[in-house]
Symmetry: C2
Subunit: 153 residues, 2 copies
DNA sequence: CACAACTATATTGCGCACAACTTAATAGCG
DNA sequence: CGCTATTAAGTTGTGCGCAATATAGTTGTG
């Protein structure tokens, strides 16, 4: 990319981090469509299921949202679709009727085994070693933390 | 994150690369909302403008799509919004009436100066050095290339 | 207890992404 | 030239993300 003649070379798409980040996320999501075919899950739905699988007990919508950084505007319709698919239940918390507790159905629990090979398959598609992936993960996590700080200031 | 008791520890959200990637993209996008306030641009619209600013001549929808990895289903409505905003023109190519050539209006050209500080501001928000950003960019670009290969095989 | 402040979820509206499909124009081939 | 295949852009439908708002339930204070 020849950038020498530009008035604002810093605006070159290829010099910026933001675009590869955006493209990588979409490429990963696209790969998940293939890997999750047969489960009926979308990628965000898969993430919600990951959180539920690693929880010992039902989670409120807010708890799910904190873990995934998503709000009720995104989660409520998504959870309704998971409920329609028979993978989760949504019950009002008897102790606090404002809260909705999301829990796995038997079908939802059973799905965990079916997707257990997905992370490794995705790792293989990315063409990086486990250590590289973990290092990248840490860098991105740090980046998110910084952006959170910047945004709230 | 205690993972020791799980049947499928590889499914732990915190062990995977995919979630930080997804979270980082959304955090960056959110930061752009703030940085682009005043221009009226969304982040994808800003990316389209970046491509147009670095092009010497009008671009077809397909060319824009190849550069940004987006298809006409995404670009057509987005470009119509940019046209409504007075930033671009959309004209049929007289030499090939199937093609639509997207070109900058004067207002579209003038906007470049207004956003010229955005990359640096974003860089500051991310809390990483320029070299770290470039290294990360290269890793993500490589990741996208690998995923493309995996997807098409 | 009354009531204001707060919290949790749901709803609405907009703008992506993208798959699948349609329409129109062009290219290629007999 | 005529016809088929291909290409370019547009359309439709689904599912996010998220801001803004609405609604219902809870908490804290006097």
């Amino acid at each position: 990319m020849d950038v020498s003649g530009r008035t604002y070379p810093q605006l070159s798409l290829d010099l910026q981090l933001c675009f590869p980040l955006y493209a990588a996320t979409r490429a990963v999501t696209k790969r998940y469509v293939t890997l999750l075919k047969g489960t009926g899950l979308t990628y965000p739905q898969y993430l919600v299921m990951l959180v539920l699988w690693e929880s010992e007990e039902p989670l409120s919508v807010t708890s799910l949202g904190q873990r995934l950084r998503l709000d009720s505007g995104t989660l409520t319709p998504l959870l309704k679709r998971l409920e329609t698919a028979g993978l989760v239940r949504r019950d009002r918390d008897p102790g606090d009727e404002r809260r909705v507790l999301v829990s796995l159905t038997e079908a939802g629990q059973a799905l965990e085994e079916q997707v257990s090979g997905v992370p490794q398959e995705l790792g293989a598609s990315m063409g990086i070693t486990r250590d590289e992936a973990l290092a990248l993960r840490d860098q991105l996590t740090e980046l998110v933390d910084h952006l959170d700080t910047a945004e709230s200031s």
